[in-house]
């Protein structure tokens, strides 16, 4: 299966957060996954991903979030290859949300992903001796990575960047 390096890293990232645990399935919600991807782009884990401000429903409110279209396309591709599944989920407070989980086939594929690609993901999302950080959403809806050594990293996905520009008024 010929996948781009970033696509493999994305699959490995999904594998870190999802799977089966004590007879239950562990799914990562789309907000959290978008946040991890954004953080991965900022931390140079993903080489060719970009992000752009997009309007999304974020915990029941319309907000601007930095979402990667390339990553979205890769998620779609991974689903078509049956490497991940997508779940539509009703919530008690908001509208429907979606969640992702690696499949058995995806888990087998991850075993064969090159070590250096996995290491680049591990450096940020699974540091040796520390493990996979929890993703916590604070009261303002901001995602925060909480590492087992107590370190907390706020992910600035909800803060679009400003661009300096000069303009002049015109009329039709």
């Amino acid at each position: 299966m010929d996948l781009a390096n970033d696509c493999k890293k994305l699959l490995y990232l999904v594998s870190l957060y999802t799977g089966d645990e004590n007879g239950k399935e562990k799914w990562i919600k789309n907000y959290a996954l978008w946040s991890l991807i954004y953080h991965g782009i900022v931390e140079k884990v993903f080489e060719n991903y970009d992000y752009t401000p997009v309007l999304v429903i974020w915990y029941g409110k319309l907000r601007v979030a930095n979402i990667s279209m390339e990553a979205k396309a890769h998620l779609f591709k991974l689903r078509n290859l049956n490497l991940i599944n997508k779940l539509r989920l009703a919530t008690s407070k908001y509208r429907y949300i979606t969640a992702y989980k690696i499949t058995r086939k995806g888990r087998e594929f991850v075993e064969n992903i090159e070590k250096e690609l996995r290491n680049s993901v591990d450096q940020v999302f699974n540091p040796p001796g520390i493990g996979v950080p929890d993703i916590v959403i604070d009261s303002k809806g901001n995602p925060v990575l909480v590492y087992s050594n107590g370190e907390k990293v706020e992910i600035k996905i909800l803060y679009p960047e400003d661009v300096a520009y000069v303009s002049r008024p015109i009329f039709l």
């Binding site: 239950k24 399935e25 799914w27 779940l87 539509r88 009703a90 959403i137």
Partner: protein, 439 residues
């Protein structure tokens, strides 16, 4: 249930008399939809992107702020097969979990903009046989009805789920159901291992004991028709079609309209139940004490909240009737529909809708009236309580003043004057109280 695993729980030894060859099963139900809801669901299912199978679950995430969702390993998949803007969405659904067992229970779901939802499946075999007995088919139908109800509730909007919960309380629990109209189509039928010629189908199937098997599927028989290639037996909650069906659109229009009729009947049952509750409320309002009145007021407000939601369904029903009318005008004069007396059915439904509209109005007025009476009675009770409190405070105040006068007056004046002052300190507040009350 997964029929491919020969998983049978029938406790009775079945007397299987009538067998259908590879029956096709279509289950129709009407769910309140309008174009906005329809397009919202299309958006949620990412119908425009032709999403590859998306898993759905009827479990609800009660902690949406958490990043991870833990669930039991059961889910169904839906894939969008076709989407026509403002018209229909076709989905392929796999009931069960795709990674654990080989999927056999596959259902096609067609959602129409006006609320007609059709679940369709062909039974390829049961216990390895392509002929399926009506006894077993009846059980399969109820299995599919239950599974599809759960599946649909994971797709529907919160508004629709609330409406369905009011009309069909606890429908998501096992043993409770939403009513649906059943259409069974089979090319061939066998009775006691003998294949029936088309000319014999009605003669035999409408006789005892075979007709009882038919009733299991479609309810009491209300009509039938036959021509060279087709036999149709129409029941109160289903239709059995044997032969080559050419007028699929006509059958579909009929079944969709019947499913709307069923919803209307159930809505009406709900409205009559509301009337019963209002009758009970009226009895308490005329004789109950304030505490009972307060309880009734809470009940009435809850009823009103459900009722307002149900009333909003009437606009969806009007939209449905318009759409059915449009479709009917394109396929009028088809003998198949005439045999099923579609015109009469449709006119009857339109008339019923008008009556239900009037009933909504009168129930609403009744609830408003009862709430007004309750509020007035509670206000009256409060007024009485205020008066009582007023007089108690006057009496206790004046006695207190009198006691003070008894204690202090003898220091300054004689006993007679003290008595007069004491009496006045009691009488004056009472007189002032009376004057205030008469004001």
């Amino acid at each position: 249930m997964n029929s491919g695993e020969t998983y049978v729980t029938i406790r009775d030894e079945l007397q299987q008399l009538v067998w259908l060859y590879k029956p096709r099963l279509f289950i129709y139900e009407w769910i309140p939809f309008d174009l906005n809801i329809f397009e919202e669901i299309a958006e949620e299912l990412e119908a425009k992107n032709r999403e590859k199978g998306i898993l759905i679950t009827d479990e609800v995430d009660n902690y949406p702020e958490k990043a991870i969702f833990l669930k039991s390993p059961v889910a169904s998949t839906v894939s969008v097969v076709e989407y026509r803007m403002n018209r229909l969405i076709r989905l392929e659904a796999f009931l069960g979990y795709p990674e654990v067992v080989e999927q056999v229970e596959k259902v096609g779901i067609e959602i129409r903009d006006y609320g007609g939802v059709i679940y369709g499946l062909e039974i390829e075999n049961v216990d390895g046989s392509e002929d399926v007995s009506l006894d077993k088919l009846a059980r399969i139908i109820f299995d599919v009805m239950e599974d599809t109800s759960r599946l649909m509730s994971s797709i529907l909007s919160l508004y629709q789920r609330r409406v369905l919960n009011i009309v069909y309380p606890e429908y998501k629990e096992e043993g409770f159901e939403r009513r649906k109209f059943i259409v069974v189509v089979a090319s061939k039928v066998k009775v006691l291992d003998k294949k029936l010629a088309m000319s014999d189908v009605l003669k035999i199937l409408l006789k005892e004991p075979y007709v009882n098997e038919i009733k299991q599927i479609i309810g009491p028989v209300i009509g039938f028709s036959q021509n060279d290639n087709l036999s149709v037996i129409n029941g109160s909650y289903g239709t059995l079609v044997i032969g080559d069906l050419n007028d699929k659109n006509a059958l579909s229009l009929y079944a969709s309209t019947k499913s709307l009729e069923m919803f209307l009947e159930d809505l009406l049952i709900n409205l009559w139940m509301v009337w019963e509750q209002l009758g009970e409320a009226r009895r308490i309002v005329t004789g109950g004490d304030v505490n009972e009145l307060k309880k009734v007021r809470v009940q009435l407000i809850n009823i009103l909240s459900d009722f307002t939601l149900l009333k909003s369904v009437m606009s969806s029903i009007s939209y449905t009737l318009n759409r059915i009318d449009n479709e009917y005008s394109t396929i009028k004069n088809i003998p198949f529909l005439e045999n099923l007396e579609f015109g009469k059915l449709f006119t009857a439904i339109k008339n019923r809708c008008r009556t239900i509209g009037d009933l909504f109005e009168s129930i609403e007025r009744e609830i408003d009236g009862l709430l007004m009476i309750i509020n007035t009675r509670i206000e009256e009770a409060l007024d009485r309580l205020n008066t009582l409190t007023f007089w108690l405070s006057i009496i206790f105040g004046s006695f207190g003043l009198g006691q003070l006068a008894v204690a202090i007056a003898p220091w300054f004046i004689g006993p007679v004057e003290s008595t007069i002052i004491t009496a006045l300190s009691i009488i004056i507040p009472v007189v002032l109280g009376l004057l205030y009350q008469k004001r």
